[in-house]
């Protein structure tokens, strides 16, 4: 591996979440990252039907992961795209993104 790759492009820390919440969040992050990448790619390659199929698969997987996470950890999306638990306004529960310690 060249110096440049070692310095700037080394693969991310092999970080395995210990908690169920962390594991579910990682699944969301992985699917959403693929969806973001495919979305940007499709913006300049809108005729690539294979990429559209991959995007739709990511969408389906992402929504499933998102709802799994929300049923356990509370709402993730604002403005009506996630339901709140009936017993309390779930949006305010748990650490905010900048406060989260991934464990």
């Amino acid at each position: 591996m060249d110096t440049f790759s070692e310095t700037f492009s080394e693969t991310s820390l092999a970080f395995a979440p210990q908690s169920e919440e962390g594991r579910l969040l990682q699944q969301i992050n992985e699917n959403q990252f693929a969806a973001v990448e495919l979305q940007l790619y499709l913006d300049t390659h809108p005729e690539d039907l294979g990429a559209i199929a991959m995007y739709n698969q990511c969408h389906a997987d992402l929504i499933r992961c998102l709802r799994d996470y929300e049923s356990r950890c509370g709402p993730l999306l604002s403005y009506g795209l996630s339901a709140s638990p009936c017993h309390g306004w779930g949006w305010l529960d748990g650490p905010w993104p900048w406060e989260t310690n991934f464990s």
Binding site: S9, S12, L25, L40, H45, L77, Y79
Partner: protein, 193 residues
């Protein structure tokens, strides 16, 4: 319309407080090549783009930059969390502490505030998309400078991830520019009098 997602685009951790590094990273919050400027530059350019591809890529990269702005804020927050005024002073951040305590502000590490002049919008789609490609390369260079400045493997990991996004965005803006140039060539009209 934007929808907030109550999570980071990529998880971030730090090994421990490092206020000096936080002040260096702050340039990617409110500095000339920072994520605020990137988000505003791209989202603002959408209105003068001639093709749907260009409007789409500016919308989607501009939105992603808002998420990166939140990631940079998170790094600064975590690196200064619980740091005393004395330790901020020892790290050379006493002037910053005097104005902002632990609040973030739109400035670089030297305290130079963000200004709209950091971004450009000529209304010429070729000039503007070329500006964006340069902006992505400049941001990549800043991330490489920041990676060089820290020994914290967790901070390096987050900065490397952000650096990679600059590379991808540069690629997509280049493709969008190519299609815009094709479009402008095709639409050329030669009036006959």
């Amino acid at each position: 319309m934007w929808i907030y997602e109550r999570k980071l685009e990529y998880p971030l951790r730090v090994s421990g407080p490092d206020p000096r590094m936080a002040s260096c990273i702050l340039t990617q919050y409110g500095g000339p090549q920072g994520e605020l400027g990137a988000a505003l530059r791209y989202l603002n350019m959408r209105y003068s783009m001639p093709t749907s591809r260009a409007k789409g890529i500016l919308t989607d990269i501009g939105s992603e930059e808002l998420g990166h702005m939140e990631m940079i804020a998170t790094l600064v927050y975590k690196l200064t969390e619980g740091v005393s005024a004395q330790d901020m002073k020892a790290a050379g951040l006493d002037a910053m502490y005097a104005d902002h305590r632990h609040a973030l502000f739109w400035q670089n590490g030297d305290g130079v505030p963000w200004v709209a002049a950091y971004i450009s919008a000529t209304g010429d789609p070729v000039a503007d998309l070329t500006e964006n490609m340069a902006a992505e390369q400049k941001a990549r260079a800043i991330y490489e400078n920041l990676i060089t400045l820290t020994d914290d493997p967790c901070v390096k990991d987050g900065l490397r991830w952000l650096r990679e996004r600059e590379v991808v965005h540069f690629q997509r803006f280049g493709e969008a520019l190519m299609y815009v140039e094709d479009h402008l060539t095709q639409k050329q009209v030669y009036p006959v009098s």
